[in-house]
Symmetry: C3
Subunit: 139 residues, 3 copies
């Protein structure tokens, strides 16, 4: 059994950007030579999140639209009243979705569905640089 | 330390169906003979999700009702405009809840609360067959 | 590779209470002497959840406010019609956020962002005592 820690560096375009990290994750898994185990995907930071989605242009709009319906930008946030940085709603969205995801792999392959991609969701109002942590435990 | 991969096969009744996989998960854990570790539960596919809930008839309605309030079927989805498969809202619901759950076990027993069951949430509009992956890491 | 199971005991103030368990989690990790691996944080029970958030007074109001907008207390819950315990909405909130979180650590340090804390969200209507399980797999 081994533990490997890797980082995916990415640049987001700001709020609503959804970035597919499946190819990079698969490549890192392949390079690890590990056959069975779990990959934990974790985004450091409090205004981004990870989930899986069918990565296609329609849902890339529909999912952020849902978040903006339930966490609208134009209502009062106490975070905003205290810090005036304009991203109170971004924090609320990120905590709702969560920063971590655990995906099993078997025979060297991520056990995802065919139309299921691993994505990082940017919620911050500005372009951001993000480090996404991949930790692989397996054999 | 060992890694075991198992699959639970199930048939759902379509959108809003909630399936309790706790008994099957406990049985698989028991058969593994492992005493301490984690089970990762992962649903392959982009229109289903996993979480825990008190599995009783009231909440089996209340939880899907909440999802339908915040991800209504009768609004415009770009996914629908592109693919015309009627399940744009299903994808959005599934990505909101997420496909993975990690549960610790100790002394051969899942560390769940008494009224806390592991469930698969079907969001797709049709009956589906689902493979739920259980990966156990422990000793 | 080792597995350690620890429990954090806490008392919540009831619905909307958010408790920062980062200091206690870091302390337990430090005492374990493990350098690389993952911590699974799991809350037993069906009316509490875990996530990460920037733990500051503004968001401690904004996040519960969001949950109460999308899971209002004053609508009909079938759970309530059956059990009359007043916490149907608490269960729905908890299942939406989820009970588990997996955080990688490297060189003995949790890989959190600077403004990212691990929190337990109390959704139940009463003060509660909670056992939060930490399971560390690492070396």
């Amino acid at each position: 059994m081994q533990i490997l820690t890797r980082t995916i560096f990415l640049r987001s375009k700001g709020e609503g950007d959804i970035i597919d990290i499946t190819p990079e994750t698969s490549k890192i898994l392949s390079q690890s030579k590990l056959k069975d185990g779990i990959i934990t995907i974790f985004v450091s930071g409090s205004t981004a999140a990870v989930t899986t989605i069918e990565y296609e242009p329609g849902l890339r709009q529909d999912f952020p639209n849902m978040l903006s319906r339930i966490v609208p930008e134009n209502i009062e946030y106490q975070h905003e009243n205290m810090w005036h940085d304009g991203n109170g709603h971004s924090h609320v969205k990120a905590s709702l979705i969560g920063p971590s995801l655990t995906i099993p792999f078997n025979d060297g392959t991520l056990m995802l569905g065919i139309w299921q991609q691993i994505v990082v969701l940017e919620m911050d109002i500005n372009k951001r640089e993000r480090n996404v942590i991949l930790q692989i435990i397996g054999e």
